[in-house]
C-alpha cells in the first residue's frame, strides 16, 4: 500500500497536464508534441517547427501559447491573427534562418494546433 501511494505520488508530481486535443510529452525545455496522430502535411510542418524554432526558444513557449491562448512573454492573445504576426516577425528576424515557405508551414501548424486544442 505504501509503495502504491509513493508510486502514485511520484506519478502525480511528474505528470504533465495535457490539453484535450493535444498530446504533450515531457515538461520544461524538453516539452514537445506527439505528432503521430497529425495529418501528413502537419507532420511535415511540425518537423520544420521542431528543428527551426528551437534554435532560439523552446517548444514549451509555443505549446503554452497554444494551450492557454496567451503568449507567455508578451501576455497577448495567441489566436490565428497572432500566429501570422509571429510568423512575420520570425521571417523578418535577421538570424532566424527561416524562409517564407517554412514560416508559412509553421503558421499553418500553429493554426491547426489552435483548432485542435479548442476541441
Amino acid at each position: 500500500m505504501k509503495k502504491f501511494l509513493v508510486t502514485m505520488l511520484v506519478v502525480a508530481a511528474t505528470a504533465t497536464s495535457a490539453h484535450a486535443g493535444l498530446k504533450i510529452i515531457g515538461k520544461g525545455d524538453a516539452m514537445h508534441l506527439d505528432a503521430s496522430a497529425f495529418p501528413a502535411a502537419m507532420k511535415a510542418n511540425y518537423e520544420i517547427v521542431r528543428v527551426k524554432c528551437v534554435k532560439c526558444h523552446t517548444l514549451e513557449r509555443t505549446i503554452v501559447a497554444i494551450k492557454t491562448g496567451v503568449a507567455p512573454i508578451s501576455g497577448q492573445p495567441f489566436d490565428r491573427s497572432a500566429t501570422k504576426a509571429y510568423g512575420v516577425k520570425m521571417l523578418r528576424k535577421p538570424d532566424s534562418n527561416m524562409s517564407k515557405p517554412e514560416v508559412k508551414a509553421s503558421v499553418d501548424l500553429m493554426n491547426y494546433l489552435l483548432a485542435e486544442s479548442e476541441q
Binding site: C56, V70, S74, P94, N97, K104
Partner: protein
C-alpha cells in the same frame, strides 16, 4: 619580422581568430529587462547594445511591452487570467516591478597606438563598470537610469567621457549619473509622453548606446567645436514631450536647463518609418504566398534641430563669454534582411566656440555612414565599416573604421576595431579591442 612591421594587422587577425575561444564562462546572468519579461536579450538586440526593431519599439513605448497595456480589454477573460497569473497581486496593486530592475555592464579594453605620446603602445588599463536600472510602473510611467560606478583610463576616441563635461555643468558638479529620468506615459490620456530628468535629448534616430560599436560615437552627433563641450548626444537636464502619431510618425521636442545662466535650450525631432515593423512594434502585413522587396525592407527617416547657449564657467559657476549654438541634421536608417545601413549629417553654427572675449563664429558640419552585416546564428558576428568626416576649427578630419563584433553569449560582446584618422595634425592609427558583458 611581420609582427614588427604590421603589429596592428597581427593584433586584429589574432584577435579575430582567437575570439571564439575567449568565451567567458561565468557570464550567465541577463540584465533587468530580460529578467523582468522572462525573455532573451535577442528579443530586443542584434548584438547588444544595438537595438533591433522590436527593441526600438520597446524604447519608444517607455519600457512597457508594446500593446501589453490593453490585453485584458482586447482579449477577454483568458488573456486577463494569463496576465494576472503572471504578476503577483502586490505588484499589480502597487505598480512596483516584481524584481529590483538593476543590471550591470562591465568593459575592459585593449588599445594599440603606434604613436602614443608616452610611448605606451599597448594600453590595457582601461575598464569601467556601469549600473543600469529601468522598467515601468504598471503602464503609467517608465524610468531609466545609468550610473557610472567605476572608470579607469580614457577610452580611445571618446571625446566627451565625463557627463559633467559634456553637459556643461559647473566644475563643482561632476555627477556620475549619466541618465536618470521618469516618463509619464500618455499624460492625461493623450498620446503625449512627458519625460523629466537627465537624458539624451531625442534628436538622433539612434541613442548613443544604440549601435554595435559605441566608442567612438558617430561624428555627426558627437562632434565638438572649439572649446565648447556641447554635443547633441550628451545627456542633459531637461523636459521632453514626445508623441507617436499613426504608429509611424514620431514627434519630440523639449527644453534643456543649462546651468550658470538664465536661458534654456530648445530642440525638436521628427522621424518617420516607411515599411517594416512600426514604432509600436506591430509587424507589417506580409503575403506568405508571394515575395516582395517590402517584406524585408525598412526605411526610417529623421530630422532634428537644436538651439541653445553655453559658456565658460568662472569660479562661481557663472557662464562667461557666451556661445550661441545652432544645430540641424538629417538621418536615414535602412534595414534589409541582415544588412543595416545608417547615415546622417549635421550642420551647425557656434557664435563663440572658443569662449573668447572677442567672439569669432564658426560654421561646422559632420557626417557619418555605417554599414553592417549581421551574420547571426550560428555565429553571432557583425562585420561593419564606418566612414565619417568632421569639420573642426583647425580643418577637417576623416575617419575610416572597419570593425568586427562577436557575441559568444547574448550578454557578452567582443569587438575589434581599427581606426584610421586623417586629421590636420596628422594621421593616427589605433587598433582597439574591447570585451563587455552585462549581468
Amino acid at each position: 619580422m611581420f609582427l614588427k612591421k604590421h603589429p596592428v594587422a597581427v593584433m586584429f587577425l589574432l584577435g579575430f581568430v582567437l575570439s571564439p575561444l575567449l568565451q567567458p564562462q561565468g557570464a550567465l546572468a541577463i540584465p533587468a529587462f530580460s529578467r523582468q519579461h522572462k525573455t532573451e536579450c535577442s528579443t530586443c538586440h542584434t548584438i547588444y547594445p544595438e537595438l533591433n526593431e522590436f527593441g526600438d519599439a520597446f524604447l519608444k513605448n517607455s519600457y512597457v511591452w508594446p500593446r501589453k497595456e490593453n490585453i485584458a480589454a482586447a482579449a477577454g477573460p483568458a488573456a486577463e487570467a494569463g496576465e494576472k497569473g503572471s504578476v503577483s497581486e502586490w505588484a499589480r496593486i502597487s505598480g512596483l516591478p516584481e524584481q529590483i530592475p538593476v543590471s550591470f555592464t562591465a568593459t575592459a579594453d585593449l588599445a594599440y597606438d603606434d604613436e602614443a605620446y608616452d610611448g605606451n603602445e599597448f594600453d590595457l588599463s582601461t575598464r569601467s563598470l556601469r549600473l543600469h536600472a529601468g522598467g515601468a510602473f504598471r503602464d503609467k510611467a517608465g524610468f531609466f537610469a545609468t550610473y557610472n560606478l567605476y572608470a579607469q583610463g580614457q577610452q580611445r576616441g571618446q571625446v566627451s567621457g565625463s557627463p559633467s563635461n559634456s553637459a556643461n555643468s559647473p566644475p563643482n558638479n561632476a555627477p556620475d549619473i549619466n541618465e536618470l529620468f521618469l516618463i509619464w506615459r500618455h499624460a492625461l490620456d493623450t498620446p503625449i509622453n512627458l519625460k523629466v530628468g537627465r537624458f539624451e535629448p531625442k534628436l538622433s534616430l539612434w541613442k548613443r548606446s544604440n549601435r554595435v560599436i559605441t566608442v567612438p560615437s558617430y561624428a555627426s552627433t558627437t562632434y565638438l567645436v572649439g572649446r565648447s563641450p556641447f554635443s547633441i548626444d550628451a545627456p542633459q537636464d531637461g523636459i521632453e514631450l514626445s508623441a507617436l502619431l499613426g504608429n509611424r510618425l514620431l514627434l519630440a521636442g523639449g527644453m534643456v536647463d543649462r546651468n550658470g545662466q538664465d536661458q534654456t535650450d530648445g530642440y525638436g525631432h521628427v522621424s518617420y518609418k516607411i515599411a517594416g515593423t512600426d514604432f509600436k512594434g506591430e509587424e507589417p502585413e506580409v503575403d506568405l504566398e508571394n515575395d516582395s522587396v517590402w517584406d524585408y525592407l525598412t526605411i526610417t527617416l529623421g530630422a532634428f534641430g537644436y538651439w541653445g547657449r553655453n559658456g565658460q564657467f568662472d569660479n562661481f559657476g557663472i557662464a562667461q563669454n557666451l556661445n550661441d549654438i545652432r544645430r540641424a541634421g538629417a538621418e536615414m536608417d535602412i534595414l534589409y534582411k541582415r544588412l543595416h545601413l545608417k547615415g546622417g549629417g549635421t550642420f551647425g553654427r557656434d557664435s563663440n566656440p572658443m569662449f573668447a572675449n572677442t567672439a569669432v563664429s564658426h560654421d561646422s558640419h559632420a557626417y557619418a555612414f555605417e554599414g553592417e552585416y549581421y551574420l547571426g546564428a550560428p555565429v553571432n558576428l557583425i562585420p561593419l565599416f564606418r566612414y565619417e568626416y568632421q569639420d573642426g576649427i583647425g580643418g577637417g578630419t576623416r575617419r575610416y573604421m572597419p570593425a568586427l563584433v562577436y557575441a559568444p553569449l547574448q550578454n557578452t560582446r567582443l569587438s575589434l576595431q581599427y581606426m584610421h584618422s586623417d586629421a590636420p595634425e596628422g594621421i593616427s592609427r589605433i587598433a582597439f579591442a574591447s570585451l563587455a558583458f552585462s549581468l
